[in-house]
Symmetry: C2
Subunit: 371 residues, 2 copies
């Protein structure tokens, strides 16, 4: 018996942890990893080597790393004094392929490899595709990456350089997913969707464990996260819940969810009509139908966080401000979190003197430069 299984996030039915199983066979709900056999449980050390985190591998030697995680946390003195808060950034763009996705990908590819998978399909706005391309190369797996033709050229080129087959889709982010699903149908290839694979969130979980150490066991009061599919958002929450279960933390941060006004299926609070979706500079969160939407909404309620959406002009402004004020160059998707921070402070969802952590999810070098 394995030390984990997949559990439906809606009806809680258990499923065998099969790489081909991405949805509940009863209710079509999304799945997550549930650890069931503590005697067999494999842990990896995170957060500078002091905390143990359960992982879906049979042994640590199966773990394929390119040096992801353990990203630095830096203060943002200018933004802090501008808003009279205590603002920190965790520099997720300092991952091996330039985005936080590497945390999830390292775990997903390691788990798939350990299960004998040798060919996969992934769809992405660019960052996850580049990440999966790098790690699958490392694992000796063949990867097909579907990405929108409209994705930044640097991201598309990055996907190709590692040796994966790039399938450019002349359509939206959601149509890219459909193309990947169609390609994989009736083939023995595994659909390694970073949005659906329960393994992916087991990797983004490391972010939550690390901040426990970054902040010397004193969690920040707020974490402001740009949310498309929510894989980082949900990974952080899973870590916080595990830490609470271990009685290492009592008070949990509020997890705020930021989306672009042009694509806000979660922040629009159920008035969302996908047909009204417009394009956004924040390509990483341009997801009209996030499969884990119900999970994100549940975390919003549990953590007391706010869902907020931001204007295009504000995203671009904040990309430039972050570089000029703090010396940090991010992609527009990451800048959306700062536009969101401004809204949350103006709307008094974050009060003066509160502490705020913002993950800077992706490198500015990978996207189109602002004018």
């Amino acid at each position: 018996m394995s030390h984990y299984e997949f559990e439906c996030t809606e009806c809680f039915r258990s499923h065998k942890a099969d790489p081909q199983t991405l949805r509940c066979e009863t209710c079509f709900g999304t799945l997550s990893v549930k650890y069931v056999n503590s005697k067999k449980q494999v842990n990896t050390l995170v957060g500078g080597g002091t905390l143990e985190m359960p992982i879906p591998l049979c042994s640590l030697s199966e773990y394929l790393s390119l040096g992801e995680g353990n990203t630095p946390v830096v203060s943002m003195p200018n933004i802090s004094s501008m808003f009279e808060v205590e603002a920190h950034a965790k520099l997720e763009f300092m991952n091996p392929t330039g985005s936080f996705k590497d945390r999830g990908t390292a775990m997903m590819i390691s788990a798939l490899k350990s299960k004998g998978v040798h060919e996969i399909v992934e769809d992405s706005s660019g960052n996850a595709g580049a990440s999966v391309s790098a790690y699958s190369t490392r694992a000796g797996m063949k990867a097909h990456i579907f990405a929108p033709l409209s994705a930044p050229r640097t991201k598309l080129n990055q996907i190709k350089i590692y040796g994966s087959v790039l399938h450019e889709v002349d359509g939206s982010r959601d149509e890219t997913t459909e193309a990947a699903e169609k390609f994989v149908k009736n083939k023995s290839i595994v659909y390694a969707s970073h949005n659906l694979s329960p393994f992916f969130i087991e990797g983004t979980k490391t972010f939550g464990y690390e901040i426990f150490n970054d902040f010397d066991r004193e969690m920040p009061e707020n974490i402001v996260v740009p949310v498309g599919n929510g894989s980082l958002y949900l990974g952080i929450w899973k870590a916080l819940e595990e830490l609470k279960e271990k009685r290492l933390i009592k008070t949990l941060p509020k997890l705020h969810c930021i989306q672009a006004e042009n694509v806000n299926p979660i922040a629009s609070n159920n008035t969302w009509n996908k047909s009204e979706m417009k394009s956004t500079v924040a390509g990483g969160i341009a997801v009209g139908s996030p499969p884990r939407k119900l999970e994100v909404q549940s975390v919003l309620r549990q953590s007391g966080g706010t869902a907020n959406s931001v204007k295009e002009a504000s995203i671009v402004e904040w990309q430039i401000k972050l570089a000029k004020y703090e010396g940090l160059f991010c992609e527009p998707t990451s800048a959306a979190a700062f536009a969101g921070l401004e809204n949350l402070i103006n709307g008094k969802q974050i009060d003066k003197n509160e502490s705020v952590l913002i993950p800077i999810t992706g490198s500015g070098l990978k996207d189109v430069f602002p004018e």
Copy 2:
């Protein structure tokens, strides 16, 4: 009395550590930091917080960080088995602006800021310019960055995004230096040259301290470094000497120096004629007249390392191979070290089963993509 002074690397004359002093007033030799007052000595912790390293600051609170250093070391299984060596990479492209320069810049800008400097000039092939732009913004300093017009557009845009004034020079890397020197002449602005400032090497020193921990106190037998001005090469050596002085290591690695055949003032072994210099894809090491050439040559002798130069085609090939074999995407300058590794193994300067460490100095995202 300060805890350090500048010392000429050629005639050993002492100089007061003035930001405007970049050359020996007697013999025009390059300068380095010498610690003279151990009672006042300020140390910072490096290598995961276990090693103390002397630094040229009056207190640690003066240190301005964007999260540089503490980069991961990963094994390279495919390259190792191809060459029958034990090959490791230290991922310097995972620094805040995407290159190892951030180590030197953090220290240089911190030291200059602590001395009241508020406006600086720098010249660069791109990476150091972007780094100095980010850190000077962070420090609230005005920066003028001189870079060749022919530098990759991403690097030039990156310099601008942080808010520095970019001066594009229609000429070679060496003419860019001349333009910066001319601009700074008779002005009160400080020439913060990463090639000449003794502070810069105090920052790159951290690389050498970190590998002491990365390799569990067992140093690799060889380190293969791409060398233009040699700021990383010399910083590593300074760290090794300090560690040896503290009796923490006995045997020092061989430090190999790799240059492009088209620009090889050091690897050509004194037959170099600058007028024969050709262009190279490895823009970061396209330095026809490296001011610290004598220092690099001295380290080559002391460490038993080899100077080797590599062909253009081999550089481009290795950039692609490194991505496809190991999932690591570097800029051509970094790929030159791998072309060099191949030469050193073929020439038996590195034997079978030896351990080799290669710093992957800059991100592939910042340069022109290979076809």
